[in-house]
Symmetry: C2
Subunit: 226 residues, 2 copies
DNA sequence: ATACGTATGTGATTTATATCACAAATATCG
DNA sequence: CGATATTTGTGATATAAATCACATACGTAT
């Protein structure tokens, strides 16, 4: 992996700006790219954290598995930083990251990342803006989980997958009913019933994990009303 | 408000580092301090956003009021940045901030804040670390709201107020039962019942809005088990 | 293809909690 | 101070969703 590629990829900005920084010549020496297949673990909770993980491509779930129950917190789609908090906020990963689709991840040493931030204000501002937007999303998730009932949550999950993850009203749910339930806090049985109902009323067409949203306005209403 | 005071307060770092930055001499010209009494609005959703708000002292709730129902998303305690996302992620505030206790807030122009970040890498890194820790907290909130039942949520709310907000096992809840319910997604009636039950079993001592946690271990267990 | 394990669908029942209704306590204001 | 509004507590009931139980479908490996 050449230095130029690394800079362009990680910094998301033109190389002229990157070259301003003396620290950058070492980026490609402190960064490694790894490929993951669906189901493979990228990092594990309770492991000492390995540094910053940048997702180059793919889709990942952040989850935690306590007392035999898997609980999914977020999906993260490339390109983005994967769960920075696990890297900066604590010395031990508090969550597990698992690939849902074929994924390429770049591992950057924490000291290198820190150097990039400190020496490159534009890069720092980019990261801060991205984290801020993420907090907005977190607020939305909180509203969804805290104040809606099951069909509202399912509606919201489908809209999220369509709008934010796949950018298409037809998609294949990247996990089982069980996992979908673990994500939005509903049992797999209720998920089945609600999807069947949405299917019967023509809001979606559903066949196994394939979903097509047919009546987005109605789905949005259901999500709104909770 | 002198420049020196502003720098020390906002940057949380020694003035030597601050002085490195040419932009800083203008901080005190682009920053204003305002006092708020409990119940007063600091900024309102749907208003064009005024810049970055730094909380110097006090306690604030971030909430949103749709269809006559108030929904509380987070509490934010000084010193900290108040809901940066509303400033950076969008041009219009998506949430309302209201003081719960007497609060001092500093309003910083967005361009000034940006300049601080871009020119002061250490400051930027501080902000990024703080935002990362906030995301950790958000994950915790999601687990709490999404996967726990009412008594677990109430237990968690009490522990949060004791540990994170007041740093004392005895405190006065800064809002009504209704608001507490709006925060954790439980009706005020259920809140009453659960607090009465905690009181009866000796986990807490409760009188009106005054709370003392008597058996923290048990409360933690209830919060854990959901 | 067959067999085994896993995932999914669906009914019956139970349970937690929202809703409704009203009383009591507390705060606010003239 | 009394009158009114707001907040809180508590019982009865309704309801959403979990749990339990089992059937069916699907996937994978031999």
């Amino acid at each position: 992996m050449s230095q130029k590629l690394c800079n362009e990829c990680i910094l998301h900005t033109d190389s002229e700006i990157c070259l301003r920084n003396q620290g950058l010549e070492s980026l490609h020496n402190h960064c490694s790219k790894v490929k993951f297949n669906p189901g493979e673990t990228i990092f594990k909770e309770n492991a000492i954290n390995a540094g910053v993980v940048y997702l180059k491509s793919g889709l990942v779930k952040i989850h935690t598995c306590t007392q035999a129950k898997d609980r999914i917190l977020r999906l993260t789609k490339a390109p983005s930083y994967l769960c920075l908090p696990s890297s900066l906020g604590a010395s031990v990963n508090r969550f597990t990251a698992t690939a849902l689709e074929p994924t390429e991840a770049c591992f950057i040493e924490l000291s290198t990342f820190r150097q990039l931030i400190v020496e490159n204000g534009d890069f720092a501002y980019q990261i801060i803006t991205a984290l801020s937007q993420r907090e907005m999303n977190n607020f939305h998730v909180s509203l969804n989980l805290g104040q809606k009932q099951a069909n509202g949550r399912v509606a919201d999950a489908l809209l999220y997958l369509a709008n934010d993850i796949y950018e298409n009203d037809s998609f294949v749910i990247p996990f089982s009913r069980q996992e979908l339930g673990d994500w939005i806090g509903v049992t797999r049985e209720s998920i089945s019933r609600i999807l069947a109902e949405f299917n019967a009323t023509g809001i979606i067409r559903q066949e196994g994990r394939e979903i097509s949203i047919l009546n987005k306005e109605l789905l949005e209403q259901i999500s709104e009303k909770g």
